[in-house]
């Protein structure tokens, strides 16, 4: 249970020594309660207080990593229910289910799809993060050989080993020694054996139950058996139940500090129809899943899900920015128009999209204004005549073009004179105020 500022204050030295960087112990306590400060900044805190506060200040959803190396997946650490309150921390991982009943060729092919799934979007590398190998055969030997094949074909990809039979789980987990797989998992009938295997092999333990009551009892028991890193499955499979259970889990962890459900959530959303499955994964991403397991990973589906995950996990307090440079839209020749705007990602997307729609190849100069939109950047003194002039002259664009005309956003028409003064020999043209008028603007120019 999270402590209030005053409760924390009682445990502090109350010397107001300021060594933590805060004016008083009370101010520091308030920051601790809001998770905006770390207890480490206090040099004089007692061991007893450290222990009490440590427990209380542990993140409500336990941080857990599975897999190893560059592709390891971080989960948990979430602190809010709604993304406008604070950034969602660790993006939901996507896992492809591979059944051990498939042929070696099919398993290799699917593992290859996961390895090749990485794409670049707005400067981030995105991929299908994991493989969920399923013991559909019920046979330990088959599971083990499928696991060997996956380890060989996709050596860096984190795995989730789905088996109810402890014998099968144990045989497969050995193949991933040092790679921290998830074993999924423990249920009420095999919990002791599974906990033992997870502990001995340093694996994360997936826990599944029928409802949250049973799930809480199971995670408590597993913790008492010495396994602390778990991912949890309430048993929900239908969209309605996934929203309900995931919401109740997140609320219990965050609003009540209820430790037995303070673990990352895994959702199985496999469906016959791939588009339907895509939308099920959308629900998982939006509503608190840390892993969603899919049955197929077509390229179109991955792209949509990667974009959604990026949108949901964007920091709401930091505007998305694009890199400062001159972007080519189409294949602009030396006489193509040159636009300028700010580097707020939405501004960039909308302006470049409209230029593209107009089908007039152009150059778009994107200037670093710390991610602010045109009017805000202008008001904040970041999109000014001298800064625009400096950016354009330093960009070297002059060497690529046969004209010296710069189109500025209509909202900053007021800047045209002063930019002209500072960029000698240039003509400044006032563009439309709204991006949706760009196609007409370009059409009338060329007419």
């Amino acid at each position: 249970m999270a402590l209030s500022g005053v409760e924390i204050f009682k445990l502090l030295p109350k010397t107001n020594c300021k060594k933590c960087g805060h004016p008083t112990c009370l101010a520091f306590a308030m920051k601790l309660a809001q998770r905006q400060a770390s207890l480490d900044s206090c040099p004089d805190v007692s061991e007893e207080a450290k222990q009490k506060l440590g427990e209380a200040s542990a993140p409500p959803v336990r941080p857990i990593t599975f897999g190893a190396g560059d592709k390891a997946v971080k989960m948990g650490e979430e602190t809010v229910l709604f993304r406008h309150d604070k950034k969602f921390v660790n993006p939901c991982a996507f896992a492809l289910e591979i059944k051990d009943t498939l042929s070696s060729e099919e398993i290799s092919e699917l593992a290859g799809q996961v390895v090749g799934s990485e794409i670049d979007r707005v400067g981030q590398k995105l991929r299908i993060d994991a493989i969920a190998l399923t013991n559909s055969s019920g046979d330990a030997g088959k599971f083990e050989s499928a696991a060997k094949l996956v380890a060989e074909k996709a050596p860096e990809v984190p795995v989730i080993l789905c088996a109810e039979n402890p014998g099968a789980a144990e045989a497969a987990v050995k193949i991933f020694a040092g790679k921290r797989p998830v074993i999924y998992g423990a249920n009420s009938s095999n919990v002791d054996a599974m906990a033992e295997i997870a502990k001995a092999n340093k694996a994360v333990l997936g826990v599944t139950a029928n409802g949250l009551e049973e799930l809480s009892t199971l995670t408590e028991k597993i913790k008492s058996l010495g396994v602390e890193d778990m991912v949890i499955d309430s048993g929900a499979r239908k969209a309605k139940d996934i929203i309900e259970q995931n919401t109740l889990i997140r609320r219990a962890a965050i609003k009540k500090g209820f430790k037995p459900l303070g673990y990352p959530v895994i959702n199985f959303v496999q469906r016959e129809d791939s588009l339907h499955e895509t939308l099920m994964a959308v629900i998982g991403v939006a509503k608190y899943a840390s892993i969603t397991v899919l049955s197929s990973i077509e390229k179109w589906k991955n792209l949509a899900l990667f974009a959604l995950r990026q949108n949901i996990y964007t920091d709401p307090q930091v505007p998305m920015q694009v890199e400062q440079k001159i972007y080519n839209i189409g294949e602009p020749g030396p006489d193509a128009p040159l636009f300028i705007t700010t580097n707020f990602s939405l501004t960039y997307f909308i302006v470049s999209g409209e230029i593209e729609n107009s089908r007039v190849a152009s150059r778009l100069a994107i200037m670093d204004c710390e991610g602010l939109s045109v009017l805000t950047a202008w008001a904040a003194g970041k999109f000014t005549a001298s800064k625009i002039a400096q950016f354009i002259s330093e960009s070297g664009v002059e060497k690529e073009i046969s004209h010296k005309e710069l189109i500025i956003p209509g909202y900053v028409a007021i800047l045209s004179g002063s930019v002209e003064d500072k960029l000698s020999g240039w003509k400044i043209t006032i563009g439309p105020r709204e991006a949706n008028a760009i196609p007409t603007f370009l059409k009338t120019r060329t007419a």
Binding site: R83, L215, A252, E298, L303, A307, I312, P316
Partner: protein, 313 residues
């Protein structure tokens, strides 16, 4: 430690809004919980999807979304009947894009004729949208509101620059009204207040906080919708209690991901499936954020949405 579910008690409620007349009238909104949280409250009506059609042929739509309407999209009446009879549309949304001065600059009288012809041909509810040209819309929407008098249509969109004339026309002719502002909860609240101060009943409003497409600012629409809904339910803010619209299709089918050929972007996969997934993904996430009324284009995306809604209620 035993588990007790943390249920929220919400003091507010979203207004139910009924559109259309007779057997085919449709109601959405009315819940007193966050969308699909039926485990802690009432969700009497399911979200509604309207098929988007236009007064002029959809020349600027990408091929994959033009194709399903081939042979009918040259005429709004044929197009609407196709949606109603073949696709089983619950609602039709007519966008009068041809009235835009940069398109065909069709007159308010042309628009009224299109609306009257449509109303004579279909019996499902009709949403009538302007071309999003503030000045032109205030002439066009006034004329069509009158042409559709007493048919309980939805008229839109009233914006800060033109709400007075449009709201007055919707009020005089007994229609519902979409109030749109640009991605800001305070602007949205302010516009709803201004409109209700004219005497327009708040129970007849639909809020459009402005849509955006997956990958292109979707997170802004998503969070504004969540915040509006929380204000309606937890703070009992009456100005935030109308149901919300997600005008999905027109934002989605503009972005590169919905039309770039696979040959140019091999790592993006099939163009057609990608476009459909883009529309359906945008729509699903906004449903979760709180939208009760969606305007969409591709029949396969609509079908997928209906399937997921079926699982959500």
């Amino acid at each position: 430690m035993s588990f007790t579910p943390t249920k929220e008690t919400y003091s507010g409620k979203v207004y139910p809004v009924t559109i259309g007349t007779g057997d085919k009238a449709v109601t959405f909104g009315g819940e007193n919980v966050l969308t699909f949280h039926s485990f802690e409250g009432e969700t009497p009506n399911r979200p509604v999807i309207a098929y988007e059609i236009q007064d002029v042929p959809p020349t600027d739509w990408p091929d994959s979304v033009k194709k399903p309407f081939e042979g009918v999209s040259d005429d709004p009446v044929k197009w609407a009947k196709f949606c109603q009879d073949e696709l089983k549309a619950a609602v039709i949304a007519l966008r009068l894009i041809g009235t835009h001065p940069d398109k065909e600059d069709r007159s308010p009288a042309d628009a009224s004729k299109t609306v009257s012809d449509l109303l004579a041909a279909i019996d499902v509810p009709l949403i009538i949208l302007g071309s999003n040209h503030a000045e032109k819309d205030s002439q066009v929407l006034v004329a069509v509101a009158e042409a559709a008098k007493d048919k309980n249509c939805v008229i839109g969109k009233a914006q800060e620059a033109n709400y007075k004339t449009i709201a007055a026309a919707a009020m005089a002719n007994n229609h519902k009204l979409i109030a749109m502002s640009e991605l800001d909860i305070n602007l949205s609240k302010q516009l709803n207040i201004l409109i209700t101060q004219m005497g327009f009943e708040k129970e007849r409003l639909i809020t459009d906080p402005m849509c955006s497409a997956l990958g292109y600012g979707l997170e802004y629409t998503y969070s504004v919708m969540e915040r509006i809904r929380l204000a309606a339910l937890l703070q009992q803010d009456a100005t935030m209690q109308p149901p919300m619209l997600g005008d999905i299709g027109m934002y989605v089918w503009k972005v590169k991901e919905t039309h770039a050929p696979e040959a140019d972007q091999p790592q993006w996969g099939s163009t057609e499936e990608r476009g459909i997934a883009w529309e359906a993904t945008t729509a699903t996430s906004l449903l979760i954020a709180g939208a009760e009324l969606l305007i969409m284009r591709h029949p396969k995306a609509v079908e997928a949405l209906e399937k997921v809604i079926e699982e959500l209620i």
